[in-house]
Each structure stands twice: as C-alpha cells, then as structure tokens.
C-alpha cells in the first residue's frame, strides 16, 4: 500500500514535470537566462559585436557620475510618482462614477477602455500631432478663446515636455485602473451601504469607512502593476520626445536603449537597465504584502 502511494506520487511529479516543460523552457531560455546575462553584461565592457571582458563595477561608477544618468533617474522617479498619483486619483474617481446606475452603462465601460486597447505607439503618434509646436489643436483652441497669444511649445521646452509626456501617460493608464477598480467595487456588498445609510452616514463617510478599506487589496495589486509599467515605460517617450529636449524627458529605459543599441555600448546600457531592478523589487515587495493581506482578509486557505 505504502509502495503504491509513493509510486503514484512519483508518477504525479513526473507528469507535472512534463506538463510544465513547454512553459518552463520558454521562460528559462528567454527570460531567466537573459535576466542573468544582463546582470553579467553590466559588469563587462561588451560592445555590439565584441563579447567584452569583466571590468567590475566600472560601468556603475561611470554612470553614477554621469549627469545624464542622474537626470534620467530623477525624471523616471518624477514621471512614475506624478503619473501614478494622477492615474490612481482619476482612475478611482472614474470607477466610482461608473459604479453608479445610469443608462448605457455597459457601453460607457466599453468606450472607457479604448485607450488601453489601442497600441501605445499609435496613440502616442496622435499625441505627437496634438502637441505639434506649430499646428497643435490645443494651442489653436486656446488662441481662439483668447487665453494665450502665441503657440505653446509642448515638447520643445524641458518642463513643458515633462508635463506633456506625463499627461499622455496618465491618459493611457487611467482606463486600466478604472476598470480594474470597478471590478473590485462590484464585489462590495450593497447591504453595507444600505446599513450605513440607515445609520445616517454621509457619502464621504461611506467611502472612507466602507469602500476604501474593502478596496485596498485590489488597489495594492493594480497600483503595483501600474507603478511597474510606468517606471519601465519606453514607448511613449521614444515616440513623443526621444528623451529630448536635451535629455529632459530621458527615462532609464530609453537611456539604456540609446546607450546599448544606438551607442553600441552594451555593457554600459546593461548597467543602466540593471539599475532599475532595485526599484522593481521594491514594487514587488509592495505587491506581495498587498496579496498576503487579501488572503488573510478572506480567510482563504492555501489552495
């Protein structure tokens, strides 16, 4: 009997192994291995075409002293922080609006998600045209209204460019957050609100005491993803400004591309992208504790 049991377990483990093999093969060959290789490359002086040799921390020492890298880190943090705060605030507000009863609710939700469906590069091209220095539709409208005299140089001035790309990022990110939080809102039992109303609670009190606490687990997960994707963003900046003017909107991701692929300094570029890892780990830890708390709340066993 005992023998049969171990045999069955062995069997099960082998079966599991074969079933996992395709996924594991892809992930090891094209994710785990490159991840390790990237860290190794950041310690070498590799260039396109030459493998490079180990040079220790030289790449890191060089980039930390490089003012371009410092600007990129500064703007990456600013971009992530400001865009995430706005995405969260607007996304939550939009989710609360969409959770109310209204005609054509389903169509409304469907429309809201369109910016998320359309490829980022293609909508970024539309923003590029909206931010055109001469023919911007925003400048034209404001001039017609008499609010401004000349055209706004959206992408030519460092701070204008920064706010413009942040706006485009918020625009692109809000639908995802709103629809995910809406799904969370719909799991809140209506009876809680009914009870609170009978007790004379104001809408604000209901939000702070019922909606927000019940929504925290999903907020933690959604915002972790949002922060992660904003921090490692590449597409929007590549299309809109390509890091310009004068490196003002350079993100760490675009800088690593420009260094490694365009500048052919693979080692140095790998160092720039490896420098993103500590930040990502921080975001993952955040997500982990959010998930743990959710399991605890539900009294969910380990299944």
């Amino acid at each position: 009997m005992a023998l049969n049991w171990t045999e069955l377990r062995m069997n099960r483990n082998w079966l599991g192994f074969w079933f996992m093999l395709p996924a594991a093969a892809f992930l090891i060959a094209f994710l785990v291995y490159p991840l390790g290789l990237g860290i190794w490359l950041s310690f070498t002086d590799a260039r396109i075409g030459t493998p490079g040799k180990f040079i220790g921390l030289e790449n890191y020492e060089w980039i930390i002293g490089d003012s371009k890298f410092q600007t990129a880190v500064f703007f990456t943090l600013l971009y992530t922080f400001v865009a995430s705060v706005f995405k969260f605030a607007i996304g939550l507000y939009l989710a609360l609006l969409l959770n109310q009863n209204m005609p054509f609710k389903a169509i409304m939700r469907a429309i809201i998600l369109i910016p998320f469906i359309v490829p980022t590069v293609l909508s970024a091209i539309a923003f590029w045209w909206i931010y055109d220095p001469q023919f911007s539709i925003i400048s034209w409208s404001l001039k017609q209204l008499g609010w401004i005299e000349g055209n706004i140089d959206f992408l030519g001035d460092p701070w204008n460019a920064r706010w413009s790309v942040i706006f485009a990022n918020v625009w692109r990110g809000v639908p995802f957050i709103a629809i995910s939080l809406l799904a969370g809102l719909q799991t809140v039992p209506p009876s809680l609100y009914e009870a609170a109303t009978l007790d004379g609670a104001s809408p604000w009190q209901m939000f702070v005491r019922i909606t927000y606490p019940l929504l925290t687990p999903i907020i933690a997960v959604v915002m972790t993803f949002s922060v992660l994707f904003t921090f490692t963003d590449f597409q929007l900046i590549k299309v809109l400004t390509n890091g310009g003017p004068a490196g003002a909107t350079e993100l760490m991701a675009t800088m690593s591309y420009n260094t490694a692929i365009l500048g052919s300094r693979i080692g140095e570029g790998a160092a720039v992208s490896t420098a993103m890892v500590p930040f990502l780990l921080a975001a993952i830890m955040f997500s982990w504790f959010g998930l743990q708390r959710r399991k605890w709340q539900q009294g969910d066993s380990d299944d």
Partner: protein
C-alpha cells in the same frame, strides 16, 4: 474565488440606492464629470480620424478651415498608405507574429496552469509563484541581453526573434488567468473520468478545456493585444523594413522631413488600431475579465 463574469454583470439590474439622489444633482455629480473624462479619453482618436481624412492642403491651414471638422473628407491618405507603401506587409507581419506567439503561449500555458492547479506535483505552489514573478519582469530590462541571445541563436532580423520572445510576456499572464478558470471546474468531473479510465491527457482535452473556453478566449485576445502593442523587442530585434511590425514601421517610415506626413501618420495609426478595436468590440466582456481576472487572482 469570484467568477470574473458575474462581477461585471452583477449589480446592473437592481436600482440600488440611486433613488436617493435627484436628477439635477446627478447631472452635476455624475454626468458632467463623466462626459468630461470620456471626451478627453476619446479626443485623440477623434483627432486621429479627422486628420486621416482631411485633404492635404487643409492639414496645416488652421485659419481658413475650422480644424475640428472637415467638409471635404478624402481617402487619399489611406489610399496612399495601402497602395504606395509596404503597409499591408507590415500589417501582415504584425498579425502573423501576434497569432503565432499567442498560439505557442496558449499551449504552454494550458499545460502549466493545469499542472499547477490539478496535478499538484511537488513544488506546484512555488512554480505558480515563480510564474507570477516572471509576469513582473518588464521587457525594458530584458531587451539588451535578449538582443545578444537572439543574435547568438541566429534569430536576429527574423520573425522568430519576436515569435519566440513574446511568449515570455504572454505565458505568465495566460497561466495565471487559466489557473483561475481551472480552479472553478469541479473536481468531481475529473474524478468520474479517472474512474472511467480516462488518462490525464483525455481529461484535459475532453473535459477541462471545453469548460474553460471563456478563459481561453480571454487569454487569446488579450495576448493578441499585448503582441500588437509590443514595441521595444520589435524595434531592437528587427532591422529590415519589410520585416517590421506596424508600430515600429510607421514610426520610421513616415517621420522624414515631409511636412504633410501627418496625414499618412494618422492614417497609419488609425488603420493599425482598427483590427484591435474591432476584435475588442466583439469580445468586450472577455477583455474585461482577462484584465481584471489576472489582477484579482
């Protein structure tokens, strides 16, 4: 575990407590802010469409014609795009790569998700956790080492460079989504089949997969969208113009000095988005459950 579909459909029928607020109040607190947000979210697409059908000479002339509207729409830009450039080829490349990568990832994900949820081999929990971690590794930190790997394997500048690397983005996501669906399928069904002498393979193929079709559709269309949207790998691993995907190709093809390029750029962006928007229109509920499902699991 909540069923991803019921959370969206639920709550629509009942009026809830909305009778407590009056119409003028709702106008200010609900309809007004909602319309402003919707207008801002949709304006870039409206602007894209209007620009794509405007005659060339109206594009840069904001004084004589109201730029928000055009009285003489033209298909000139779209026509140029489809018949004078490689655009159809790029569209085909994008579609081919997206469909191949999606099929590969779905096969791998079905096996992995089934093994984690139902075979429960030793270490299944850990494998699930590791796959979730893989979901959190962004392409921006992988593309430099991957470019050297792709070069070593001789895949550089071939569609396989993308078909084989996209699954690293798609598998973690699809596996998690499918794990959620597989968990909802009752054990008893599988036990009955096991007693009747079915093999694991038959159980997966004849019982589990048919019941998980909504999950498979969600995973497939969401994967297609992710592939279509992918940019950094396509930009790095593909060099020849005729092998590029739409997002990369239109960026390099129409950004020369031509001052009328806006018409073709907008037409390219519009035509490149349409297949996804059409797909989306047919499968809205699946999209939403894919998006929220993977987050909630």
């Amino acid at each position: 575990m909540t069923d991803p579909k019921s959370t969206l459909a639920g709550g629509d029928e009942s009026e809830g407590m909305s009778y407590l607020s009056t119409l003028p109040r709702r106008l200010v607190t609900l309809y007004l802010p909602l319309s402003i947000i919707v207008i801002v979210l949709l304006f870039p697409f409206y602007w894209m469409t209007v620009t794509a059908v405007k005659p060339k000479e109206h594009l840069l002339d904001l004084e004589t014609h109201n730029p928000f509207w055009t009285v003489s729409p033209t298909l000139e830009h779209i026509n140029d795009l489809l018949f004078k450039t490689d655009y159809p080829l790029w569209l085909w490349n994008t579609m081919f790569i997206a469909v191949s990568a999606t099929i590969l990832s779905l096969i791998a994900s079905v096996f992995a998700a089934y093994a984690i949820v139902r075979i429960r081999y030793r270490g299944a929990q850990t494998a699930g956790g590791l796959i979730f971690l893989a979901y959190l590794v962004p392409p921006s930190i992988l593309f430099i080492p991957l470019s050297t790997v792709v070069f070593q394997y001789g895949l550089f500048d071939t569609p396989f460079a993308l078909i084989l690397t996209y699954p690293t983005i798609l598998i973690p996501f699809s596996t998690w989504l499918l794990m959620g669906y597989f968990k909802t399928i009752p054990y008893e069904l599988e036990e009955c089949a096991l007693i009747d002498g079915a093999t694991r393979w038959q159980i997966l193929w004849k019982i589990v997969l048919p019941l998980a079709i909504p999950g498979l559709i969600s995973a497939a269309i969401f994967s297609l969208t992710l592939c279509w949207n992918e940019f950094i790998y396509a930009l790095t691993f593909i060099n020849s113009t005729e092998k590029k995907t739409v997002p990369v190709a239109i960026l390099s093809a129409f950004t020369d000095g031509d001052q009328y390029r806006w018409g073709s750029l907008m037409a390219g962006a519009l035509v490149g988005s349409l297949p996804l928007v059409i797909l989306y229109a047919f499968f809205v509920e699946h999209y939403v459950s894919a998006m929220t499902g993977a987050v909630k699991e």
